[in-house]
């Protein structure tokens, strides 16, 4: 189709207006959600590698009884860092920082997130908090009290070193990053959807991110309070958890798990969203029972706040309390079950094509069901009171966190690879990767159910040989290395394809959501003309897509007068105002740097310097808000 002159001129104007600074500095000041997404991608994969190495050292140590590859001091740091790294610095930043950030504006037909500078701030704070935590490791002061850091073990008396402080302050800084990201998603999803995209026409991935963001907003403060209590106790001798002074160590556990349980749904919800994006594409069928699936995603997030005590069944609580939380833990199975059957029925009534992304989703469904089943068992209080704190639980949560949360991320990396890079990955290598990782995952984590049932507790750096735990551990270790091999193959595939893969075009898989209606990779302004939307499968609506070039020519919703995107009403998506987006800015990275430095000063007990950093942060914020984006 020939592109008219007017259209071409509009596109050129958009290119000029939305262009960012080139080179390295451009990355430091970018406010483009796609580039910020890529920053998150690279950083989270680096932390993934770190967490993976930590795991492999642990598995080497555990491969045989009475092994002495590392001692308990090192092992305890490794197991703590592995948990903290994988949860806070890998899976969540990859899910919402990369997939969420990159895709949500595209899927809703917007040009950027609602608060582009705050988006950049979220990333730089994440990086700063990760550097802070890992500098603890580098200095030989990694935290070593486990990722949930129970008191009194984590108190100053029993953990006199600074490791626990690195943990607490690193996570407080990290939580600011996640809270800002959640706020950004909520406002973006609420107000930046393309005109005509009422909530029931919003893709399911965005519902998943919506649910995740609500959870983050209400769950993170419980962790912040807990960490603040801990640091006030450690640094100033306050007493929240000391029995002798009127405190209670269970207060730490309650606050932690009030955060911790919603956290696991925060971890897995984006993966549900990715599954609901991949399945329709590769089955060429709309998701069955769309409204039920959307509702189920929101319900999982909501009910997730009411189950936390199931992490504390062995602490000697009154039976009535435990029964209530066991019931809630069973109820949450229902929205999960609804989604599982919806995914399966979409595949049964569709025409599935088992390319790499869909293979990972099939693996995901199997792992989610299996891990969910062991989760249901854990809701049975007497059974939990036997297996809690054993390898049975380690098996359960790796099936759900690794199998169910990460497999869609891996599938998603393949699926959106052509969109982000403009090139196609190698399909045969991709399928091989799937099988290696799928088999490796089962070989690694399945035997842990058994060693748990045979009585092997968690967080043990070694074990005796006469209890029958040797074979399971050895098999797990083999599986871990096998799984790593699959991941290495995936990395090679994607890195080589990035430079030498065949060009992909805008929609190589026939995807339904709006990111597939623009070029690969998308231009900095995402869409030359804001798309017309009539359903959640906007790219499949050919009538609407045919109007795009005509509207571009006419200048209907091209908005090339500035850095602009439409603002719409929260529920119905009616056009409401033109929003002016900020241009690139040095203030987000500056503020993140000052905040990280301030946190480091608190850690080192230089409180005056920390206060100075707070003042400096205020000054940076003033400078930030002096740049007021104006609609032309």
């Amino acid at each position: 189709m020939a592109v008219g002159t007017a259209a071409r001129e509009r596109v050129e104007r958009l290119d000029r207006i939305w262009q960012e600074r080139p080179g390295f500095t451009g990355w430091l000041t970018t406010t483009d959600h796609k580039r910020i997404g890529i920053l998150y991608l690279v950083t989270s994969l680096a932390f993934f590698a770190a967490g993976g190495v930590e795991a492999l050292v642990m598995r080497t140590q555990l491969a045989q009884a009475d092994e002495r590859v590392v001692g308990p001091g090192t092992y305890d740091q490794l197991m703590t860092m592995h948990g903290v790294t994988m949860i806070f610095f890998f899976v969540i930043p990859l899910s919402i920082g990369f997939f969420g950030n990159y895709l949500v504006p595209l899927m809703i037909g917007a040009r950027d997130m609602a608060f582009p500078r705050m988006n950049a701030l979220s990333y730089w704070l994440y990086l700063g908090s990760g550097i802070l935590l890992y500098s603890g490791l580098a200095l030989g002061h990694a935290p070593d009290a486990g990722w949930f850091n129970y008191v009194p073990l984590a108190s100053r008396k029993f953990s006199p070193g600074t490791g626990v402080d690195f943990y607490a302050l690193g996570l407080i800084l990290n939580s600011v990053s996640s809270t800002a990201a959640a706020a950004n998603f909520l406002v973006t999803i609420g107000r930046l959807r393309a005109p005509g995209m009422s909530l029931n026409r919003m893709p399911l991935f965005c519902f998943a991110i919506l649910a995740t963001s609500f959870s983050l907003v209400f769950a993170l403060p419980a962790l912040t309070t807990d960490l603040v209590f801990l640091e006030l106790s450690r640094k100033f001798g306050l007493h929240f958890f000391d029995v002798g002074r009127g405190g209670n160590p269970l207060l730490w556990q309650d606050l932690f798990w009030i955060f911790g349980h919603p956290e696991v749904y925060i971890i897995v919800l984006p993966a549900f969203g990715i599954a609901t994006s991949i399945i329709p594409t590769f089955t060429r069928r709309r998701m069955a029972a769309f409204p039920l699936v959307a509702l189920a995603e929101l319900l999982v997030a909501f009910i997730g706040f009411g189950v936390w005590v199931h992490h504390m069944f062995a602490t000697g609580l009154p039976e009535i309390a435990m029964i209530f939380f066991a019931a809630a833990s069973l109820i949450i199975v229902i929205p999960s079950g609804i989604q599982i059957f919806a995914w399966c029925m979409t595949m049964v009534t569709g025409k599935p094509e088992y390319r790499t992304p869909l293979l990972f989703i099939v693996g995901f469904i199997l792992f989610f069901v299996f891990g969910g089943l062991s989760g249901i068992m854990l809701a049975a209080i007497p059974f939990d009171q036997q297996v809690t704190d054993t390898y049975f639980v380690v098996a359960h949560f790796h099936y759900v966190i690794w199998g169910a949360a990460v497999f869609p991320l891996l599938g998603g990396l393949f699926y959106w690879f052509p969109k982000v890079t403009g090139r196609m990955y190698d399909e045969r290598l991709g399928q091989t990767t799937f099988w290696l990782v799928f088999i490796g995952t089962n070989v690694t984590f399945f035997p842990m159910h058994i060693s748990g049932m045979l009585g092997m507790p968690r967080r043990v750096w070694t074990y005796p040989g006469h209890l029958g735990w040797g074979p399971e551990n050895f098999i797990s270790t083999l599986g871990a290395f096998f799984l790593t091999g699959g991941l290495v193959l995936m990395a090679v595939n994607l890195v080589v394809s990035r430079f030498r893969g065949p060009l992909a075009g805008p929609n190589p898989f026939g995807g339904a959501t709006l990111e597939w209606a623009t070029s690969s990779p998308p231009p900095s302004y995402n869409f030359a003309v804001i798309p017309k939307v009539s359903s959640p499968y906007a790219t499949w609506d050919e009538d609407d897509r045919e109007t795009d070039p005509q509207r571009l020519e006419r200048g209907d919703f091209v908005l090339e007068g500035g850095h602009l995107t439409p603002g719409t009403t929260p529920v119905d998506g009616h056009m409401d105002e033109i929003l002016a987006m900020p241009e690139e800015s040095p203030w987000p990275i500056t503020l993140a740097f000052v905040a990280t430095l301030g946190t480091a000063f608190i850690l080192a007990n230089h409180l005056i310097m920390a206060a100075a950093m707070a003042a400096l942060a205020a000054a940076v914020l003033v400078a930030w808000h002096s740049g007021e984006p104006e609609a032309a």
Binding site: L232, R245, N248, E630
Partner: protein, 191 residues
């Protein structure tokens, strides 16, 4: 389509952003107050022996004063929405004076408490001083926001700044209401 001052149906994004920030802070205060209640019901004697129960008079009066300061802030937001810069300035300045006096008194009371009770004495002291400090910090941040608004509004009233005024006003409504809850919690031994 153009225009900066279009009639909107939805609130501006910055206002929604503040609402979400307020939601997280409400959650934070919720966990702090829940911790107070948790610790309180662990202990037979609360406050512990040797610690006087806090007087309810001064804190209650001050809490109501803070709530009162929300009125000039609401007036300022209302005026800013209608493009009346000077009226908005006046509202913010008035609120700021009340809030500053409030905070001054609170800091004085806090220092007085500290001279009689150390936060590291026991769980009661720890949660008492922490909950109050978090609230006072929120008031302090609000005052800084007021000062920033005054500085910006002294020149022009742009749509951006109009959103800022309504967002800061919303922040103050939250801080004032939370102040009532915090005061109720802190003075609960005296009821």
């Amino acid at each position: 389509m153009t225009a900066t001052a279009t009639r909107r149906n939805a609130r501006p994004n910055g206002w929604y952003g503040m609402v979400i920030l307020v939601a997280t802070e409400a959650s934070l205060f919720g966990t702090l107050m829940a911790s107070y209640v948790y610790l309180r019901f662990q202990t037979a004697v609360w406050p512990p022996h040797g610690v006087a129960a806090p007087s309810a008079t001064a804190p209650t009066v001050l809490a109501l004063v803070l709530v009162a300061s929300a009125l000039p802030m609401a007036y300022a937001a209302h005026a800013a929405d209608r493009g009346r810069r000077r009226a908005a300035l006046a509202g913010i300045a008035c609120a700021l004076v009340i809030q500053a006096v409030y905070l001054g008194f609170q800091i004085h009371l806090y220092a007085d408490d500290l001279s009689r009770l150390s936060p590291s004495r026991d769980a009661y002291a720890s949660i008492y001083f922490t909950l109050l400090a978090v609230h006072h910090i929120h008031v302090g941040v609000g005052i800084l926001l007021d000062l920033w608004l005054l500085a910006r509004l002294s020149r022009r009233l742009t749509p951006y700044r109009r959103t800022a005024v309504s967002a800061v006003a919303f922040y103050w409504y939250f801080v004032a209401i939370v102040g009532l809850f915090v005061t109720a919690t802190i003075t609960s031994p005296t009821w």
